[in-house]
Symmetry: C2
Subunit: 331 residues, 2 copies
């Protein structure tokens, strides 16, 4: 192991989590000698399940799980018993990517090498579990418009929590001003038909919910590697279809409720229901496009989750609502 | 291993994910014999890192990691070399709890025993990683008001996606009717001051965002075991403080904007800003109480996330808004 302390541990990279003392063995060793070496070194602190074969310069040649080493014939030479590592990481590698690679390679430990191919550490399943947990927490926080925090909730000060939350709240509040501007623009129409106001919350909430359903699905799919940028048209087509189905269902239920239960004016009920269809489809499309675009721009797609999409969807659905209202109600 | 096929694999429990062929050794074996036995059996399919010592009836006595076995002196007896397992699972155990226990016990594999203490399987780090990933996905889906699905997005049919999403959308749409009812109730006040309508989206969105910030934080804390039911008053007190800070900040910025930039009537600006403070605090409290109550009622706290809280917060903030408006504007 050379220069391990010279490798910078950038947060979020493999360098920051890797175990720095993998067991190194030489290619010409016999299995028996290797086991003797293991005993000499003793049980490592981290849960390592593999040992690594390196050349004289410390360059990684191959790996054996401990199980494979034990099962190998006593006099088998390591360079014959070993297999090529299924995947290799570098210290600069993104942690989340590393875990995804580990799962794709179907193994529980991956070696880390430097630019010269020298073994500098390993990422174990234990490390991977921590990464999975932390990344999921971070994504959820981003989705809820909170700046990610490192410490457990009960150990974080009020001031700290405040700072993590208030920025997004301010930003979203100010951007909601444009929704207000739309309403102000149609103030005369609203004054003529105050009943229209009663449906603003329902339309806004439904748009927000549809958008967050799509965005969370897509964000998670991107983060699990199930969806890539190249799939955008497949995703969009799927979301359009789901949007049409959901929109028609909601509009039908809504139309029935407003006319049969609430005895509302049919034209008003139609205005609300038509707006619902458009809102649902638009929100679902926003919910899939924004995260994909964000990932394309190398931003974390999770920031494109519900709150931001809600704000945009609100504006669009209100605009559609008033347009349709003005058209059909002749106000 | 006895009767392993008789153990039902209930989805979500340890029984459904455990590896069913852990290596069993007898307590009077020597380390050398154990290693010979390992070779005989060959490399297992799953990534197991431990072997288990069981009595003649198959009851678990202790465990050794493979590393410990290799490091033990050749003639060490297993019942002396082994250590008591750090934690033991049963097949009925919840998967998420099992992973939490694994992390608490700081190990990468846990044995599973039946009612009689007989070893029936192990949960490995590989299984745990899958559980972590799936549970996080499920939580995110619940938070976004989607019924959890098993299959990757691109492989799920439109109809399937539709069914997972439309139920919650319908439920939330119908419950938004009560928000509409509040508006209808104050229709005359609104007709007198149409300008009030312009702030409905901003107030609703801010309430929703505040609620989802708190609920997601608390849901994640509950799911990571960082927060328990007994902490409810600590959580509530923290959220009140954060709520007051956030509320005042937002209200101040809003008041400035409305009076200085928009030259709005001061009283109207005060009505909006006061409502903001109340909305933020109420939403934050809802966001922490509902998930805690859900977890107390043995429901998944994740269903109490943003969409449901948004709907409730909407109603409350509108009620507060109109009350304050009627009071201060004498309409």
């Amino acid at each position: 192991m050379k220069n391990i302390n010279m490798i910078p541990a950038i947060p979020g990279t493999v360098g920051a989590i890797m175990s720095r003392q993998p067991l190194e063995l030489s290619p010409r060793m016999r299995a028996r000698e290797a086991l003797a070496r293991l005993r000499q070194v003793g049980v490592p602190q981290d849960f390592m399940s593999s040992c690594y074969v390196v050349d004289e310069e410390g360059r990684l040649l191959g790996a054996l799980t401990l199980y494979e080493l034990v099962a190998a014939p006593d006099c088998a030479r390591l360079d014959q018993a070993m297999s090529a590592p299924r995947a290799v990481l570098t210290p600069e590698y993104d942690q989340e990517e590393a875990v995804r690679l580990m799962e794709a390679a179907d193994c529980v430990e991956l070696p880390v090498v430097d630019d010269e191919g020298k073994l500098v550490g390993t990422v174990t399943a234990e490390d991977a579990m921590e990464v999975l947990r932390d990344e999921a927490t971070e994504d959820m926080e981003r989705m809820a418009a909170i700046l990610p925090s490192e410490r457990p909730y009960l150990k974080t000060s009020v001031w700290e929590i405040y700072k993590k939350r208030v920025l997004w709240l301010l930003l979203l509040m100010v951007s909601a001003a444009f929704t207000g501007a739309i309403i102000t623009h149609y103030e005369t129409a609203l004054a003529a038909q105050v009943v229209l106001t009663a449906f603003i919350p329902m339309l806004m909430d439904t748009g927000g919910n549809c958008g967050s359903q799509s965005s969370v699905t897509i964000i998670r799919g991107l983060s699990l590697g199930e969806i890539g940028y190249g799939d955008w048209w497949k995703v969009a087509w799927k979301e359009i279809q789901v949007g049409v189905l959901c929109g028609i269902t909601l509009a039908a239920v809504n139309l029935l409720r407003l006319t049969v239960l609430d005895h509302l004016d049919l034209i008003v009920a139609i205005v609300v229901s038509l707006t619902l269809v458009v809102t649902v489809i638009v929100s679902k499309l926003l919910g899939c496009f924004l995260p994909i675009l964000a990932s394309r721009a190398h931003l974390d797609p999770a920031v494109m989750a519900s709150p931001l999409i809600t704000t945009i969807a609100d504006g669009i659905s209100l605009m559609v609502y008033f347009r349709i209202a003005v058209l059909l109600l002749r106000i």
